[in-house]
């Protein structure tokens, strides 16, 4: 079962929908609330990164009997130094974005912490793709 959510850049009224839909869907499927919480955090941080740092993209949620997969993919501009981006507290968020309560530099580390497997790939100037799974 697959779901796809489109994320528009800089749109903070709809940002959060991928996460809340993920939560509703998993709840309806009767998934354990601890797992739902982890999946919701992963989807939320991924969609926020797309809305804040990229030109737009999509989140895919796939649910199988043994696993949940969340794939976040955007249209660039990519991340130059992934190791640096993965560091807790590292952020390039603007002053305005920080004013809105984002930009603590905790999104990617939190996604990795919540996921059972986490893979990020990016080319500077190109796409960023994050693939995360949760075992059921």
């Amino acid at each position: 079962m697959k779901f796809e959510y489109t994320i528009t850049t800089q749109n903070f009224t709809t940002a959060g929908e991928a996460s809340s839909n993920t939560k509703k869907t998993l709840k309806l499927l009767g998934i354990d609330s601890k797992i739902i919480r982890r999946a919701a955090i992963m989807a939320y941080e991924a969609e926020m990164n797309i809305a804040i740092h990229s030109r737009g993209g999509k989140i895919q949620l796939e649910i199988e009997a043994h696993r949940i997969t969340i794939v976040a993919e955007d249209q660039g501009p990519g991340i130059a130094d992934i190791d640096l981006a993965m560091k807790e507290g590292y952020s390039t968020a603007s002053h305005e974005i920080r004013e809105m309560g984002f930009g603590a530099g905790m999104g990617l580390p939190n996604m990795k912490r919540c996921a059972d497997s986490f893979d990020i790939s990016s080319t500077p100037g190109g796409k960023t793709r994050v693939v995360m799974t949760l075992n059921l």
Binding site: M1, S19, S20, K23, T25, K27, L28, L29, G30, I31, S33, K34, I36, R37, A40, I41, Y44, I63, E64, A65, G101, N110, L136
Partner: protein, 418 residues
């Protein structure tokens, strides 16, 4: 599975099946079946929004009656925190209490004192590193139930202390047992909302409530006004007022507990959004989330009568010049270890599509296909609050595709397998 008690009920004869309550229910607990707005017990949180919005008065709260007082030797009234704000300042607290006594109560218990005591404890807890933050109080039972249903991962953030109402009732009964051994004592809450009534009849976190019944402010108000306006009061003795009365208004719990890193949220839809953010770990800098299902706090309760903003003004005027209860008095008289819940708060499982995940996934797939058949305009004519809700009800065999008026007009689904 838990058995449910709800004080919110439908008066079938008055219901026209108009769908207003269904469209406004924050947990989508209402379905119009055979022209009547039925409540799904496991989803209802007793917030009372349906009581407020029903144009025909078909939703109401079950209460006890004045006759139920007769079962007790000593009859005590415990007004809600927002009760006095329902009356013009022209009527003093003493006068209002005397009117309650004229109605048939022997005593009136003031829980605003206990709210202030608990506020002190709340302030201390906010500094305790063992306490999970941000803390959420159980003061509004509709929110506690919302968390049980929608945000079970936040149950650990709920502070384990009893409500002022329960503490006040228990201490009163203990004192009465010493003063009048053998006498039966009945405490009746004068409620601003169905959620509090439910929390007395079927408490969360407590085996049994120390209160014995509940009446509604709305029902008593005309009787009290009649007494108040027809009589010059004899006694003008001053009845004590406490800062704890601020718990009737948004911000009152944070104010009295002196917690600065707190957000104060009213309106159940806004509270739901904030709770979702807290569950995502986005509010970790906060110590306390003060929540009320009703706009403005309990002054906006569905069984109150006054405009909530006027009521708020009255609470503020009455409490502005008060000084807090002496800390030594609190420290010497209260053992906070005894003011804790005696039961764990459990999550409420709204049944998913199926216990077996692969079956649930198949049903989810069907919901998706059904959504393709439905117009997606959430018109409500089928008796469900949204097309999605109808699709879910169809796979759960609680509704049929032909319940959709558009399907009827069109003469059946495009996808013949549905």
């Amino acid at each position: 599975m838990a058995d449910y008690f709800h004080s919110v009920i439908l008066i079938e004869e008055k219901c026209t099946g108009c769908t207003v309550c269904m469209q406004n229910c924050p947990t989508q607990a209402i379905r119009v079946v055979d022209g009547k707005a039925q409540i799904t017990p496991e989803k209802c949180i007793d917030c009372g929004i349906c009581i407020r919005v029903c144009p025909y008065g078909a939703k109401t709260a079950v209460t006890d009656t004045m006759r139920d007082l007769e079962a007790y030797d000593i009859k005590a009234a415990m007004p809600s925190m927002s009760f006095y704000s329902q009356f013009s300042q022209h009527y003093s607290k003493t006068k209002i209490n005397n009117a309650l006594k004229t109605l048939g109560f022997d005593e009136v218990i003031d829980q605003s004192y206990h709210a202030e005591v608990l506020a002190y404890h709340l302030g201390n807890l906010s500094e305790d590193p063992q306490q999970v933050k941000p803390m959420i109080s159980t003061y509004c039972p509709a929110i506690t139930r919302l968390i049980q249903i929608k945000n079970p991962e936040l149950i650990k953030n709920i502070i384990p202390i009893e409500t002022p109402m329960e503490v006040a009732a228990r201490l009163y009964k203990e004192a009465m047992a010493e003063r009048n051994p053998g006498a039966s004592v009945g405490i009746f809450y004068i409620s601003q909302c169905p959620a509090k009534i439910t929390s007395i009849k079927k408490p969360i976190g407590l085996g049994r409530s120390s209160l014995d019944g509940a009446l509604s402010t709305k029902n008593l108000y005309p009787l009290l006004m009649q007494i108040l306006s027809h009589r010059e009061d004899y006694s003008q003795e001053l009845t004590a007022a406490y800062l704890g009365e601020n718990w009737a208004i948004l911000g009152g719990q944070s104010l009295t507990s002196e917690i600065e890193a707190a957000i104060k949220v009213d309106d159940i839809d806004e509270v739901a959004k904030i709770l979702d953010m807290a569950e995502l770990g986005k509010l970790s800098g906060l110590k306390f989330i003060e929540t009320y299902a009703c706009v403005g706090g309990c002054v906006g309760g569905p069984l109150n009568v006054e405009n909530p903003f006027i009521a708020r003004y009255r609470v503020e005027s009455r409490t502005r010049s008060l000084s807090p209860i002496d800390i030594d008095e609190i420290e010497n008289n209260f053992d906070f270890g005894k003011l804790l819940w005696d039961l764990e708060i459990e999550p409420i499982d709204i049944l998913g599509l199926d216990k077996d995940l692969s079956v649930a996934l198949e049903k989810m797939d069907r919901i998706d296909k059904l959504l393709g058949e439905l117009p997606g305009i959430d018109c409500g004519a089928c008796g469900c609050p949204s097309c999605r809700a109808l699709a879910e009800d169809i796979v759960q065999k609680k509704a049929r595709l032909s319940d959709c008026v558009f399907q009827k007009l069109q003469g059946g689904p495009k996808n013949a397998t549905l």
